[in-house]
């Protein structure tokens, strides 16, 4: 599904240049659950952002289902993003002024989905995420785990081909963290492709494949046999 070649990204400030990505080559197959790991500053978040079209690399190629994305202009990128990708953040990034239902509905509005259809889709996902009795609440009224469920629901409601998760359990205690990981697994089993950045090898163990980064390079790649076999 994704083919990345020779990706380079340099952050410049007035004094220093930091190479965040230094010739990354990787691929993600449809239906895969890939974890990206590595120490702080290794470039894993940058990679995720590039994959999510939130950031632009200096050079390289990024093909998504044979479409080259790096040559697109901002508007095309934004359109592509909202049609194909969903995001889950460490700090949830829900809009405080909107209810659970409205937060989940928001991407559908931006995708110009008609109202009745929106209602159906949102209710469906709310049910699936087990947050039906929370749909009228505001984010502050929920626990961290519940907030992340809402965030996952919001990421999935548009039925994206790819879900990008940036440390989704980083702000959660272990039991809530596990809940979220199980949820992601479940989604993956139902066919959603997931790329996740994480610090935690426990979380990574839920995925099919683990990519290790250091200083902007892919230093190793490991197939998680238990999960992969299970999948097959």
């Amino acid at each position: 599904m994704i083919k990345i070649e020779n990706l380079e990204k340099v952050y410049k400030t007035e004094e220093i240049e930091t190479t965040a990505l230094n010739g990354i080559n990787m691929h993600v197959k449809t239906g895969e659950f890939v974890s990206i790991m590595g120490p702080s500053g290794c470039g894993k978040s940058t990679l995720l952002n590039v994959m999510g079209l939130l950031d632009k690399p200096e050079s390289g190629s990024y093909k998504f289902l044979e479409t080259e994305l790096l040559t697109m202009n901002d508007k095309q990128r934004s359109n592509f993003r909202k049609q194909n990708m969903g995001f889950v953040f460490q700090n949830f990034n829900l809009i405080d002024e909107l209810t659970v239902f409205e937060n989940i509905e928001l991407p559908l509005i931006y995708n110009k989905v008609p109202a009745t259809e929106r209602k159906r889709l949102v209710n469906e996902i709310i049910e699936r995420m087990n947050i039906v009795n929370r749909s009228g609440h505001f984010p502050q009224q929920l626990s961290g785990g519940q907030q992340q469920r809402v965030a996952v629901a919001r990421a999935l409601v548009t039925k994206p081909k790819l879900v990008l998760a940036d440390e989704p359990t980083g702000n959660l205690d272990s039991s809530h963290g596990n809940e979220v990981m199980e949820l992601l697994c479940e989604l993956n089993e139902q066919g959603t492709t997931i790329v996740m950045v994480t610090h935690s090898s426990h979380d990574a163990s839920f995925s099919n494949r683990i990519i290790n980064l250091k200083d902007g390079h892919v230093i190793s790649e490991k197939i998680n046999k238990s999960r992969t076999e299970e999948l097959i």
Partner: protein, 803 residues
Amino acid sequence: MQTLLMHLNTNNDMFKLNLTIALRNLWKNKTSSMINVSGLAIGLASCMLLLLYVSYEWSFNKQTKDDKNVYQVMINFDGPAGSISGTGTSTPNTIAPALKETYPAVKAASRIGDADTRLIANGRNSFKKIGRFADADILKIFDYTFIAGDEATALNAPNNIVVTASTAKLLFGTTDVLNRSVRFEDRVNLKITGVIRDLPDNTSIKLDYLMPWTLFENLYEWTKRPMWTNNNWTTLVRLNPDANAEMLNASIKGMIKKHVADATSSPMIFPFSRVHLYGTFTEGKSTGGEIEQLRLFMGLAIGILLIACINFMNMATAKSEKRAKEVGIKKTIGATRASLISQFLIESLVLTLCSAVMAIVLVEVFLPLFNNLLGIKMNIVYANPYLWMSLIGIVLFTGVVAGSYPAFYLSSFNPLQVLRKRRSGRGMWSVSLRQVLVVVQFTFAVILIISTTVIYRQIQYLKNIPLGYDVNQLVELPQDGQLEAKFELLKERLMKSGAIQGICQLSGSMADYNSNFWGMEWPGSTETDRHMVFSQLATTYDFAKTTGLKLVEGRDFSRQFSSDTSAMMLSVSAVKVMNLVHPIGKIVKYQGDLRRVVGVFQDFIWGAPYRKQDPMVVAFRKEGTGYVTLRLNPANTPSANLAVVERIVKDINPAYPVEFKFVDELYGQKLKSQKILGLLSNIFGGLAIFISCLGLFGLAAYSAEQRTKEIGVRKVLGASVANLMQLLSLGFLKMVVLAIVIAIPVANYMMNSWLKKFDFHTGISWMIIVMAAIGTIAIALLTVSYQAYKAAKANPVDALKYE
């Protein structure tokens, strides 16, 4: 079609969602929303009230259709050596007919009598209302709306009368009064031939009923004679639309002199709509007038709105940075820039709209009070499209300007940037712009404080200028009807009653300059002295005793000297300009008669209190009647005294209602326009300062909130509450001090040029400036320190946990 509908629908949904976010945001920050909305509402309301007043004054005499073709005839008086010494609005009774007869450019011309209240009765009750005499042409000059009667013939016969709707209702309880009879001044019966709609409040020709000039001539025989140099009446003309006023002015200039060889006056036409605002003339040219004050109010209105807008923008931009996260999320999910821009604009427009609604309510609530203060009758005409246009214009402008910074700036963010490191959104530019705005706002506020104080002090100063006579307990009433012939009887009975201490008759009111002359001759006077202008007043006995006027030399007119019937008194400044060393006993030629000077009195304020008084002559003349002036007995209450006086006056002069006027109240009228200026600048200056402080309060709150973490860290490291308050207040203090530094010279310059208009004026003492500076700093500090204290006292753990 289907897709278009869908598109519209989703746009609509987005709009709804954005509106929801906006409203919930407002609700969540109730205090700051209230500050923001009410600050803007107060600003808008102040601006609207001021502009309402400005438009009231501005549309003075402009209600008539084609008001551009209506002119008032003015009279220029020759001064020495071909100059023009003055310009007056009173004209002789000959100008109007002559103009109409001679010049085809003049479509209609009318003499109009003065606006005295006169007696009108319906058979049982009589009322004193403003009745005017005018030529029938007045109906061609003004387009009075006739509710009943025929405009073309209403004033054609001498015994006709046209009444306004409210006069009709007063007399008969209905406007259906055509052909009914009323009695005028207890002398003639008149037939109502027209009912017109009430006139607007802002016209110079106010009236409650209108009578034909022919009736005036029948009632007062002497007015039938053509008198080219007796300036007593108003003359208005309507020119043909294609007429050239300049050319007409050139050809009518010698009109009076053609008929009276030694006349010293020449007529001039001047646009009627400009008389009210541009009524100050030098050398026969309009050099301003009330318009200057009006411009000041306009500036004040715009300034207040600006202050309120600045507040609004500052708060909106300050808060918007907190919203960066929301922008980031939306962008990640797929919001376009346009949708974000429209969201922020909608938000600020919603707020502005709330403020506008609140402002209209405020204006409605305070308008009666405002009218009362100013003594005028303004109302909001909601049917007026200009009102709505300007209101919508102001709302759109404020909303768009206030919303555009967050809209365009925030929507340009890279979502990553705001979601990751939230602070990077705070550019240097935005901070310094906000600081500039605060400085502008406070500069304006300080200028207002200084100006208001100076204006207040000047008015106090003018109030305290010694009048030259004792204005308290002094009452005057018109010498109507029998009061002239039976004056001696009146005097005797009143004095006996104990209600008064003195009584005299005067040719004019004590409170207002009303007559002058030139051409006096005295021992040692030269030809040029003949051009010297003196003010004049005629009286009989007890003038000084009644008014409390101070005599410097000689004595008042007295019965003990039979020759006093041809005597006169001079003011100190008259003696000075006449160069008389021993004035008492000198013989002076006054109005063609020789008169002996028997007394010299201290100058008293007759004209404008802030001008030097003209030299003055007070002459003995029995037939020069006009006003009866009384000094009430201070031993009794004024109301008890007046009750006694009224009974006696009514007894002697039963046909007339008794109308007293307190001279101190009349005198107060002289400073009316200064008082309005003082009043308005006090009210709106205070409001401007209040709004500025509201803004500062909001900004301080925001700044304290933004620095929560910093404050927490500092506190953990050992900073005291005082340290932190200083830290938070200092930034604001610097801006306020800068504003003061800018404002002082500006205010100083403005007020100095304002004070120059007065012959007598106070200075701008450094005390005022120091007080204004200290006051502003104190208010600003108080405002900011509340927020600073709150932030500094907060538990640092809460601050650090957050993030």
